[in-house]
Symmetry: C2
Subunit: 195 residues, 2 copies
């Protein structure tokens, strides 16, 4: 939410937060703006003071999430040069993001294709840029080891698959804490069960 915090006033932020939870828990299609209005203690009409349409609301949520994600990736890339360390940082960041922002993390996986037209494209473009961070770092990692990685894109997706699938099962309060999980993913991807 970082980027939008300044522009939106407090009430808008509150609505935004409740919307994330509600849309995530019920799913974008099932959750009606009546539900949302009730949840924030307003009328439906009142909500439309803050956004133009239901789809715009979803866009604002998903787009801001991608902005946060890209900002995090950029920050790491600037700070960490060594590909192996950067990869580790990416994974850790990804797991952290999920834990601290579960609603938006799930939303972007489950409901991204509820967006249409330009909104959809905008979000998709940011996802491409996001993928490029992984891809480039993984490629450099392979080069550094003198073993270029075949099927680079596939490997990127396998790694991201492990990271993103956690939305289906992971409970941060369980026995496995976020940093440990991130570490587990990293080691398994590098060395498999052998390492």
């Amino acid at each position: 939410m970082a980027g939008r915090k300044t522009a939106m006033d407090q009430r808008a932020q509150e609505i935004f937060g409740v919307a994330c939870r509600l849309l995530c828990e019920m799913g974008y299609e099932r959750a009606s703006i009546r539900d949302l209005a009730e949840a924030v203690g307003m009328t439906k009409a009142g909500l439309y003071y803050y956004f133009k349409s239901k789809e715009e609301l979803l866009f604002l949520i998903l787009d801001s999430y991608m902005d946060d994600l890209l900002a995090g990736m950029e920050e790491i890339s600037a700070r960490v040069q060594d590909p192996e360390e950067r990869l580790k940082a990416y994974i850790r960041f990804q797991v952290e993001r999920y834990c601290e922002d579960t609603y938006r993390s799930k939303l972007i996986i489950n409901d991204e294709n509820c967006l249409s037209g330009e909104w959809f494209q905008t979000v998709k473009d940011k996802q491409r840029r996001y993928l490029a961070y992984w891809r480039e770092t993984l490629e450099r990692f392979g080069q550094q080891r003198g073993r270029p990685i075949a099927h680079l894109s596939a490997h990127v997706m396998l790694l991201i698959g492990m990271c993103n699938w956690i939305y289906q099962w992971y409970q941060p309060e369980g026995e496995l804490r976020p940093p440990e999980l991130a570490d587990l993913i990293f080691r398994r991807f590098l060395h498999g069960l052998d390492g």
Copy 2:
């Protein structure tokens, strides 16, 4: 669809098939019974001769998919004893399933929680049984190597994450063919980038 083929007549099968495609492509909530009726060349009311409600239709699709999945896992488990080989066969089966039955594969990931009550429980139970196959085999594999796997459940989910995330990116007609992908996943999980 295997289990249901005998019970349903041909027309029902056709409706079922179109429903899989439509619900998958549009999403369960967005796709209306009207859309489905149009797609199969019937009226909405006519469809209700074949199922009681929209949700039951979704249930039939997802439940039959889980039956097929469980049958496949069971068959492999009976045929392949060695845990490593069995694991490899599971992965291959999983990838094949996705390629040959893309619609239902995506549906069960995207729209399983559109089911409610008993229907939801039934499908969830079958998913638990499905997970148990992986878990048990992975455990035996660890024992066989004399290196029991810590955080067994997490490892199961990481592996399944790689297998299931392919619905987000994999195109069977691309440069990487299904058996190769399955092999890639297997090797990466066992040995990581090292192997």
